[in-house]
Amino acid sequence: MSDTIAASTGDTTQPPAGNERRISGVSIRLEGVTKRYSGQGKPAVDAVDLDIPAGQMVMFVGPSGCGKTTLLKMLNRLVEPTSGKIFLGDEDVTGQDPDQLRRRIGYVIQAGGLFPHMTVATNIGLVPGMLKWDKQRISDRVDELLELVGLDPEVYRDRYPRELSGGQQQRVGVARALAADPPVLLMDEPFGAVDPITRQRLQDELIRIQEELGKTIVFVTHDFDEAVKLGDRIVVFDVGARVVQYDTPEAILADPAEEYVADFVGAGATLKQLTLTRVSDVELIHPQVTRAGADAAEVVRQATAAGEKYVVVTDRRGRPISWPSVAELSRVATVPDTVDEKLPVVGLRSTLNDALDTMLAASQGGVVVTGRGGVAGVMVVETVMAAIQRTREEVQG
């Protein structure tokens, strides 16, 4: 953990325990924030009042042109408010020097907004550089952040953005925004330009990072599923950035404030409950797990004794690599270390929706679930079906 994070929480050794989350963010308060462009009758953002609690991920959703992005950009003053006040914590930042302010607020845009002529390390080190950190500290911080977003520093530090995939660029974009450990992170449709599977992974990563860091995150999206999955709270906007509803995803799905929200949430709201249920909320089955290179006969014997048909194979670091059947294993002497590229894997914090998607993409009837200590179990498609059935019954009855 970085010394800056530790300093801001006053806690250096203890990992976040139980429900007590580590919070390094500050609250954001908007008072009558308005943006009026000259030559336009109606203001783009009309007197918005909003309280965003510290350490929460708040999603801005609404149709395009509703002013949600304009509102976001007023938080770091890329757009100057015409009137109104913005507070970070108890500090009124409305009159502050915008450049200084922005160095304290992480900013992530679509595709990461990485500078193509700078290496990954240079990109990430930009803000610490502007804050006059010394070179060694910046380079340590870059490596730490690359680890945090799941990229090996040795491999990626000196690459250029064009040598990365879209998902990797987005990870570096998040790392850059977190570089100087800002209390607030603004994300403007960051995952809009990547394919669905990559987007799902990035969302899972963001949830994990947020659990670790507890920033205050404001996240603009037009994808309501994304909002439900990621958000602690969701703000639904209408034209002029009118706040139609501001509540938890559960509450918005269960009780849309207006016809407008119900329309926006969509007819599939029962199925949307799938994005509310996490893999960790349902029952997993626990098959035999073994390391590559183990004695196959022994593994087969144990699995048969337990009545299992499949065995999950992990690599040396405990990551699942394949999922052979007992019949396949009984034909070989040692458990093979071949990596099955199509092996369906989701994290414990993934939603049932993601898990189902992953299964369908891999044409499998189940999915391997990983947690902190490696393989957490396997979820089968019947579990998802049962969850759908349950929400249906709840809605009808």
């Binding site: 450049d99 302010l101 845009i109 500078f115 002529h117 953005p161």
Partner: protein, 213 residues
């Protein structure tokens, strides 16, 4: 021809050096002027149009005529030569610099501002490096073009290989007249090729690997 070269190798080398020196210094000066003007111009569509118009029209002014006009206020010598060469060198660079700066992805500029870079830092660290390959292409065009224009500057007694060409042409039919003209012309062509190679090398060294094509 060979004898002519050997006899005058000192003078030829000196004038070649003078010629390249005039061109290189004027192109450097022109680059600074052009980038400065482009930075002022590129954010407004109107001024950009004006800059492009000026550089298109400017290039149609015959260099001989411009030198003649400059004679009145500045007399003979280096000053009118430098002014004329710099003027022509500025135009293609200005045009490319405006195009290059305007071509930088707006979302990257916003990203730079969004992480707290000042307006000036954004220009220096993001916009200019990204526009640099286009600007450098303009510098190459300029350099080739003013190698020829610098020869005409000999008309106002400026330095350089043009003096061989003009003295040759004025005594056509006389001894060594053809040799003088040929030496001046061929030397200019060769030097232009060398300078272009140097600029290609400069481009390799000054363009980030991340945006090199």
């Amino acid at each position: 021809m060979w004898d002519y070269l050997v006899d005058r190798r000192g003078l030829i080398a000196f004038q070649a050096f003078q010629h390249v020196s005039l061109v290189v210094q004027c192109v450097l000066l022109a680059t600074v002027i052009a980038i400065g003007l482009a930075v002022l111009a590129y954010r407004s569509a109107k001024v950009t149009g004006l800059a492009n118009g000026v550089s298109a029209v400017g290039l149609t002014i015959p260099s001989f005529a411009l030198l003649g006009i400059l004679l009145a206020p500045f007399g003979f010598g280096i000053t009118p030569a430098v002014i004329a060469v710099t003027f022509y060198a500025t135009l293609p660079i200005l045009r490319n610099a405006v195009v290059g700066l305007a071509g930088v992805d707006r979302s990257l500029v916003e990203s730079a501002r969004g992480i707290g870079m000042s307006r000036l830092a954004t220009l220096r660290r993001v916009e200019l490096p990204l526009a640099w390959p286009v600007i450098l292409a303009g510098i190459r065009v300029s350099t080739q073009m003013v190698m020829g224009i610098a020869a005409i500057a000999a008309y106002v007694l400026g330095p350089g290989l043009g003096s061989f060409i003009f003295s040759g042409l004025s005594r056509l039919g006389g001894a060594n007249a053809l040799n003088a003209t040929l030496v001046g012309t061929i030397a200019i062509v060769l030097l232009a090729l060398v300078l272009d190679l140097v600029l290609v090398l400069v481009g390799r060294l000054t363009t980030s690997r991340g945006i090199r094509v």
